[in-house]
C-alpha cells in the first residue's frame, strides 16, 4: 500500500464538496441497453492515436475504448479523480523508495481483434510512447529508466531496464530514475494505454488501433464522422475502471456549426452537442429545456499570460495594474453569465488540491493582505499603478483566438487597458494556431487570453507546468510557460513541494497553496475566472453521469 495509497488519497481527500456527491457508478441495467447515441461537433480532433492525441474531445472517448495499467474511476463527484487499477489487478506495489512499481497484469483480457493482452504488449506500449513522439514523452514519462536514450533516438526505443516484464509470472515492473508523486496519474491518462505490440511505430492518424474497452472503433473519417461499436471480445472485469456501456453504437458526426448543434439536440436529431453553446442560445436552452441542461464544475481557468520579458509587462506595477483593472464579472458576462463561470484570482482553481480561497487583486485588498474572494475591480488604483510604472501610453497588443467568445473578451480587455492608460489593440488569430503562436517568443506577444484545463488533479500540473523555468523555451512553438516567467527560488520551492508529496501529501498541498499566493504577488499572469462545463442533451437521452476528469461519460448515456 504505502505511497501509492497516500498519493491516491491526496488526490481525493483534500477536495471539498463538488456538484455531485462522490459516488460509485450505478450497477448495469440491461433494460436500457441498445440504440445509437449521436454526438455532434464542428470538427474532428485530429489523430485518433491515443498516444498522440492531446485533446479533451477525444480523451472523453478513450475512457470507453482504451485501457492502461491504471485509469481514472467511473462514478460521480470526487470518485472520478481516483486512480483505480484497470488492466493491472491492483494498484502497484511500491518499493525502492518509490522508484520501483510492480504490477500484476490481469489475465483473460483480449483486444478487439481477438488477440490476448500480454506483458509483451505492455512493454511495447511504453516504448511506443517514444516511438510516436507522444507530446508527453518528455514531460510525463522521462522519469522511466532508459527514457533519455529513447527521447534522443525514438525509432529504436528499447526500455529493457525501465519496463521489465515477466511472461511466466505475468508481472510488469516499472523502474523510475527518481520517485514521482504524480506517477499514478501519469499512468492513468490515455498516453499510457496498452496497445498491441503490432500497433504502428508512428502516429497512427486515421488508422484504427484495436481496443480493450467496452467499445471499439469501426471507422474514422475526420471530415464526416467517427463510429464506435461494441467490442465483441469485451467482458466487464472492473465496474469502476471499464464498465459495460449502454448504446450499441456511438456515432460522432462532424461538420455541424455550434448553433446548428444546439438546434439538432433540441429537435432530438442528436443526443449531445460537443462545442460550447453559443451565447445567444443559452437563455433559450435554460428556459425551454432546463431538464436537459447539466452544469458541472471544472478544474480549469481562463487567464491572461503577461509576458514578463518585454515591455510593458516586464514591470511588476504594470502587471499588478492589469490584475486590478479587469472586471472579472464583466468577463463572466461575456462567457455566459454567473451560472457558467465564477471570478477567481488564485492560480489553482477551486476544489483543486492545494487551492486556497483568496484574492489579492480586488477592491480593498492587496497581495500581502488578500480578501477571501474577488468582489470588484479597482480602476483608480490600476491607473495610478500604470502611471507609477512609467509604462503609460505604450502600445499593447492583445492576442486572442478568433472565435466569438475570445474575440469579445479581447475587445473588452482593449477597452479596459485603454482606460488605464495604454494604447491597446486586439489581435484575433485563428483558434488553431493561437495556442502555439502565443508560446513563441519570436512573435513578441505581450498579453493574450488562454485557458488551461488539468491533465490530472495535481497542483504541479498547474503551477510547475505553467510557471516553471523548464517550461520556458525561447523561440519555440512549444513553450507552455507563456509568461516567460523563470523564478529560480520558486522553482526550488516547487521541487520541495513535489518531494514532500511523496510522504506527506497534505503538507505538500499546503505548500502549493503558499506557492500560489507567492507567485500571484509577482503577477506573471492575470487569472480571470473558472469555467463550468455545460452539457446539453436531448429529451430522448437519459443517465447523464459526469466525470471531473474526462467530463460526460459517453458510454453511459441511455437512449432506450
Amino acid at each position: 500500500m504505502g505511497v501509492a495509497a497516500l498519493i491516491v488519497s491526496a488526490l481525493v481527500g483534500t477536495t471539498s464538496a463538488s456538484a455531485a456527491a462522490s459516488a460509485a457508478l450505478a450497477p448495469y441495467d440491461a433494460k436500457h441497453a441498445g440504440g445509437t447515441v449521436t454526438l455532434v461537433a464542428q470538427a474532428a480532433a485530429g489523430t485518433l492515436d491515443p498516444k498522440v492525441n492531446y485533446t479533451a474531445q477525444f480523451w472523453q472517448l478513450y475512457q470507453a475504448t482504451y485501457d492502461g495499467l491504471l485509469t481514472f474511476s467511473y462514478g460521480s463527484g470526487a470518485t472520478t479523480f481516483q486512480v483505480v487499477p484497470d488492466l493491472a489487478e491492483a494498484l502497484p506495489v511500491m518499493s525502492n523508495g518509490g522508484k520501483t512499481l510492480t504490477f500484476k497484469l490481469r489475465t483473460g483480457i483480449k483486444f478487439s481483434d481477438g488477440k490476448p493482452v500480454t506483458v509483451a504488449d505492455v512493454k511495447a506500449s511504453f516504448e511506443r510512447i517514444f516511438k510516436v513522439s507522444s507530446p508527453t514523452a518528455g514531460s510525463f514519462y522521462n522519469g522511466i529508466v532508459g527514457a533519455d536514450v529513447c527521447l534522443k533516438t525514438p525509432a529504436t526505443c528499447k526500455l529493457d531496464k525501465g519496463v521489465v516484464v515477466d511472461a511466466a509470472k505475468n508481472t510488469v515492473v516499472l523502474n523510475l530514475v527518481a520517485a514521482d508523486e504524480t506517477i499514478l496519474s501519469k499512468l492513468a491518462v490515455p498516453h499510457a494505454v496498452i496497445n498491441p505490440a503490432s500497433a504502428p511505430a508512428k502516429d497512427a492518424g486515421t488508422t484504427l488501433i484495436p481496443t480493450t474497452g467496452a467499445y471499439m472503433y469501426k471507422s474514422y473519417d475526420p471530415n464526416k464522422s467517427l463510429v464506435m461499436v461494441r467490442n465483441p471480445y469485451y467482458k466487464e472485469w472492473s465496474h469502476a475502471a471499464q464498465p459495460q456501456g449502454y448504446p450499441d453504437q456511438i456515432l460522432f458526426k462532424f461538420g455541424i456549426t455550434p448553433t446548428a448543434q444546439v438546434t439538432a439536440v433540441e429537435n432530438n436529431q442528436a443526443n449531445w452537442a460537443y462545442d460550447p453553446i453559443p451565447a445567444d442560445r443559452l437563455n433559450e436552452i435554460g428556459t425551454k429545456f432546463p431538464s436537459q441542461v447539466h452544469v458541472n464544475p471544472l478544474t480549469a481557468m481562463w487567464y491572461l499570460p503577461l509576458n514578463v520579458n518585454i515591455a510593458p509587462f516586464n514591470n511588476l506595477k504594470a502587471r499588478q495594474a492589469v490584475n486590478y483593472a479587469i472586471d472579472r464579472a464583466a468577463m463572466v458576462k461575456i462567457f455566459g453569465g454567473t451560472q457558467l463561470a465564477g471570478p477567481v484570482c488564485s492560480f489553482l482553481p477551486p476544489n483543486f488540491p492545494g487551492h486556497v480561497d483568496y484574492c489579492g487583486y480586488t477592491k480593498g485588498a492587496t497581495p500581502a493582505k488578500p480578501a477571501t474572494a474577488w468582489s470588484a475591480p479597482d480602476l483608480a488604483l490600476a491607473k495610478s499603478l500604470v502611471k507609477a510604472s512609467g509604462t503609460a501610453g505604450q502600445a499593447v497588443g492583445i492576442v486572442v483566438s478568433d472565435d466569438d467568445v475570445n474575440k469579445q473578451m479581447g475587445i473588452y480587455l482593449q477597452s479596459v487597458l485603454n482606460s488605464i492608460g495604454y494604447k491597446a489593440t486586439v489581435k484575433p488569430i485563428s483558434g488553431n494556431i493561437q495556442f502555439t503562436y502565443i508560446q513563441n517568443t519570436k512573435n513578441k506577444v505581450q498579453i493574450s487570453v488562454s485557458q488551461w484545463y488539468q491533465d490530472y488533479p495535481a497542483a504541479s500540473d498547474f503551477l510547475d507546468v505553467l510557471l516553471g523555468c523548464a517550461s520556458f523555451t525561447p523561440n519555440s512553438d512549444s513553450s507552455i510557460n507563456m509568461s516567460g516567467y523563470c523564478n529560480k527560488a520558486l522553482d526550488a520551492k516547487m521541487a520541495k513541494a513535489k518531494a514532500l508529496g511523496l510522504t506527506d501529501p497534505v503538507a505538500a498541498n499546503k505548500m502549493w497553496g503558499a506557492i500560489d499566493q507567492e507567485v500571484m504577488a509577482d503577477a506573471p499572469v492575470a487569472v480571470v475566472f473558472t469555467p463550468k462545463q455545460l452539457d446539453f442533451i436531448s429529451s430522448g437521452t437519459k443517465n447523464y453521469v459526469f466525470s471531473l476528469q474526462y467530463k460526460m461519460f459517453v458510454s453511459q448515456l441511455q437512449v432506450k
Binding site: T259, P278, A279, D280, R281, L282, N283, E284, I285, G286, T287, K288, P290, V293, V295, D327, A329, A330, K333, I334, G336, G337, T338, Q339, L340, G397, V399, D402, D404, K407, Q408, G410, I411, Y412, Q414, S415, V416, N418, S419, T425, V426, K427, P428, I429, S430, I433, Y437, N443, K444, L534
Partner: protein, 337 residues
C-alpha cells in the same frame, strides 16, 4: 423632353452635356441622389449623434451600463431570469434616439451610433474598391478585346489567375502577418488598421467578373461595321476606343456598378472578420453584421440594420445607374418610356 428640345440640342451641345441635362431632370436620379445624400449625411453626423443625441461612446465597452426604462434602472446586458438563468442578453431596440435606439451589442455599446460611424468606413471602402474594380476592368477588358492576339492571351491568363486565386488564404495569411509585424512594401508600412489593403484586395478580386463580359462585348463590337470603317479610315486606336468602343460598352458596365459596390461592402464584412481593414473597436456595417450573427437568435436587429443600409445604398446606386444609362444611350431613350 420634347422633340423640339432634343433636335436643337443635337446641333448645339456635346453628347456629354446632353446626357447630363437629361439626367438632372430624371426623377429617378433625383430620388436616388437624395437617398444617397441622406445616408452620407447621417454617416457624416455620426459624432454629433453619438455625443449630443445618444450621449454614449460607441467604442467603449460598457458591460455594466444601465439605462432608465419607465423609471426602472435596467442593465444593458441583462442576465437571464427565466429557467436556469443561463446567458446574458443585450437590450433590444428602445426606439428612443436618446438611448440605444436600435438596442445594444454584446459589449453594451449603442448599435445606432455604431451604425452611423460604420457607414463612413463601409462607404469609403466599398465605393473606392468598386470604382477601382470598374476602372481596371474597363482598361483590361477593352485592351484584351480590342487587341486580341497575345496581349489578349496574357491578360486573360492574368484574369484567370486572379479569379482562381485563393483570396481567403491570402487574407488569413495577411492578417497574421499584419498582426505580428505589419507589412512593409518598399517604404510603405501597413499596419492592421490600414484601409488600403481591403480596398486593393476587394478591388482586384472582382476585376475578372466585370472585365470578361466587357472583353466579350469588345470582341463583338470590334467586328461591327462602324468600327471596321473607322479602322479602315486609319483612325488612331485611342480615338476608336474612346469614340466608338467605350460609349457602346458603358451602358452594360453601368449596371455592374451597384452590383460591385454591394459585393464590395459584403466582402469588406468578410475581410474585417479576418482582421483586415476595420479593427476593433472601430465599426463598419460589415463588423456590425458579424456582431449580429452572434446575436441572431436573441437580437436579430443588430444583424438586420446594417444589411438594410447596404440594401438602401445599393438600391439607390442602382436607380441612379439606370438613369445614367438611359441618359447616355439614345437608343434606349427612343423606346419611349
Amino acid at each position: 423632353m420634347a422633340l423640339k428640345d432634343s433636335s436643337e440640342a443635337i446641333f448645339s451641345e456635346s453628347p456629354g452635356k446632353i446626357a447630363l441635362r437629361i439626367l438632372r431632370k430624371d426623377k429617378r436620379s433625383k430620388i436616388s441622389l437624395t437617398i444617397l445624400g441622406v445616408i452620407v449625411f447621417l454617416s457624416f453626423m455620426a459624432p454629433v449623434f453619438s455625443h449630443y443625441v445618444a450621449d454614449s461612446n460607441p467604442f467603449e465597452s460598457t458591460l455594466n451600463a444601465t439605462i432608465n426604462v419607465h423609471g426602472v434602472e435596467k442593465p444593458v446586458l441583462e442576465p437571464s431570469t427565466t429557467g436556469l438563468g443561463l446567458g446574458v442578453t443585450p437590450i433590444g431596440p428602445t426606439w428612443n434616439p436618446r438611448s440605444y435606439f436600435l438596442g445594444a451589442d454584446g459589449q453594451g455599446r449603442d448599435v445606432m451610433a455604431r451604425l452611423l460611424y460604420g457607414g463612413r468606413s463601409t462607404l469609403l471602402i466599398g465605393t473606392t474598391a468598386g470604382l477601382l474594380c470598374i476602372f481596371f476592368s474597363l482598361l483590361i477588358g477593352i485592351i484584351a478585346g480590342y487587341r486580341r492576339g497575345w496581349i489578349d492571351a496574357v491578360l486573360s491568363r492574368i484574369l484567370d489567375i486572379i479569379w482562381a486565386f485563393p483570396v481567403y488564404l491570402l487574407a488569413i495569411s495577411l492578417s497574421v502577418v499584419l498582426l505580428t509585424s505589419g507589412l512593409t512594401i518598399g517604404f510603405i508600412h501597413l499596419g492592421s488598421g490600414s484601409f488600403a489593403l481591403p480596398i486593393v484586395i476587394i478591388g482586384v478580386v472582382y476585376i475578372p467578373y466585370v472585365a470578361r463580359p466587357i472583353r466579350a462585348q469588345v470582341l463583338a463590337l470590334r467586328e461591327r461595321e462602324f468600327v471596321r470603317a473607322a479602322i479602315g479610315t486609319g483612325a488612331k486606336t485611342s480615338t476608336i476606343i474612346f469614340r466608338e468602343i467605350l460609349p457602346n460598352v458603358m451602358p452594360s458596365v453601368v449596371v455592374f456598378i451597384p452590383i460591385i459596390v454591394s459585393l464590395s461592402m459584403l466582402t469588406e464584412s468578410a475581410l474585417s472578420f479576418l482582421s483586415i481593414g476595420v479593427q476593433p473597436p472601430a465599426a463598419s456595417w460589415g463588423t456590425i453584421i458579424n456582431d449580429g450573427l452572434a446575436l441572431l437568435y436573441t437580437r436579430p436587429m443588430v444583424g438586420l440594420a446594417p444589411g438594410i443600409m447596404i440594401v438602401l445604398t445599393a438600391a439607390a446606386l442602382n436607380l441612379y445607374g439606370d438613369a445614367v444609362r438611359d441618359a447616355l444611350d439614345p437608343k434606349t431613350r427612343a423606346r419611349g418610356d
